[in-house]
Symmetry: C2
Subunit: 225 residues, 2 copies
Amino acid sequence: MSRRSGILEFAVLGLLRESPMHGYELRKRLNTSLGVFRAFSYGTLYPCLKALVANGWLIEETDSAPEGASAAALTGRRAKIVYRLTAAGKEHFEELLAHSGPDAWEDEHFGVRFAFFGQTSRDVRMRVLEGRRSRLEERLEKMRTSLARSRERLDDYTLELQRHGMESVEREVRWLNELIESERAGRDQRAPGPAAQHKNQSGDTGGLPRHRGGSRPDPSDDTTT
Amino acid sequence: MSRRSGILEFAVLGLLRESPMHGYELRKRLNTSLGVFRAFSYGTLYPCLKALVANGWLIEETDSAPEGASAAALTGRRAKIVYRLTAAGKEHFEELLAHSGPDAWEDEHFGVRFAFFGQTSRDVRMRVLEGRRSRLEERLEKMRTSLARSRERLDDYTLELQRHGMESVEREVRWLNELIESERAGRDQRAPGPAAQHKNQSGDTGGLPRHRGGSRPDPSDDTTT
DNA sequence: TGCTGATGTATCGATTCGATACATCCAGAC
DNA sequence: GTCTGGATGTATCGAATCGATACATCAGCA
């Protein structure tokens, strides 16, 4: 259960909180709804689901008898497992939501955390946003240093690569600034309550930092895996 | 030797073409000079180096006797292996450079390919740039579709995540457009020759697409691994 | 003197990927 | 009518990769 699967677990719990789902659908959601960030494979998802069930956070229901009442057991229907969040699972997810430790703003986690900001308390949101920002600023600093050190021996294309990379990070920081700003502005004004549906009021709230970048393996790509 | 190691091989060969290096330095370069894209671990790099040596594309030289002439073998000095490109290796790299197949514009490859554009022929550059662009446009299309399908049931933060993701990709496309533009403009005007040092002439050439996004595991992060 | 941190090579277990097998169902072509 | 392709759906396996760590040398510096 390394860095990665931690966030998978979080995402699965979060998605199932909304409604029970099949593994298949879960994977699709993971790779589209949750922002362009990461394509988890079945080889990762199914073991994760099993682990969550073993922990008592999920239960699996075989959705038998889709039509006729008796047809169910008769035909020896295919498995079709629907995963549902248990009370314990919900509680566990709530705990995870409340964490705002450093890894919440690492690349692998931030996008998913952000996707569930709707059910995250305002102060945790703030901490994560600010943590993310300082993380990126550190990164920028390092990029600047290393660029300064090596500028001379680099050719144009490499330089352009560097420049563009930095610009992207800078853009992301600006974004975070807007988001933080708008969180500050909205203070005590809007309840942090779960799943607020305030539908993009006036301007727009700001923006979210592109998680793993605007380019990833193409989550919506239905390469079976 | 899956998708990934293919590009590692390419990058290693390319870096060693410039000058021989230790594995350690190689890794550093991989994670900084080559743009913010990917942190390869030693567990991947060293096996890769061995494979390249086995193929005859590299030779390893133990850089003995750093100071005194005889001190070398005496103390049983530490290994310190310098990798150097062989003629065969150089030839192989040249071949790789000439390829412009679909995977050249996949996320994992594009950044590295771009970093070596200095020694890539103009038409290959064009093909890769255009391939990349259409790849991203496909992606955008899918994102739009999936967003349209699910817009209603998504909360603000999720929506914002989507929006930002798309915007990043759009930005990247614009970038590619500028790059393609400027490649077209410079046609027959500047020799495609290796490592052109035309130092960012007037405006700027355009930009390169952020490879794995403006945010990656932090290549310059000296977490030993 | 001894400490710390950069340089440097190397490996190992755990995780994750990518491909694939297999099965069901439906819609549209023929 | 039935056949075929594609979406849905569960599941596993070998290979690739990661992340951590061990180990060793050397420079600076307190």
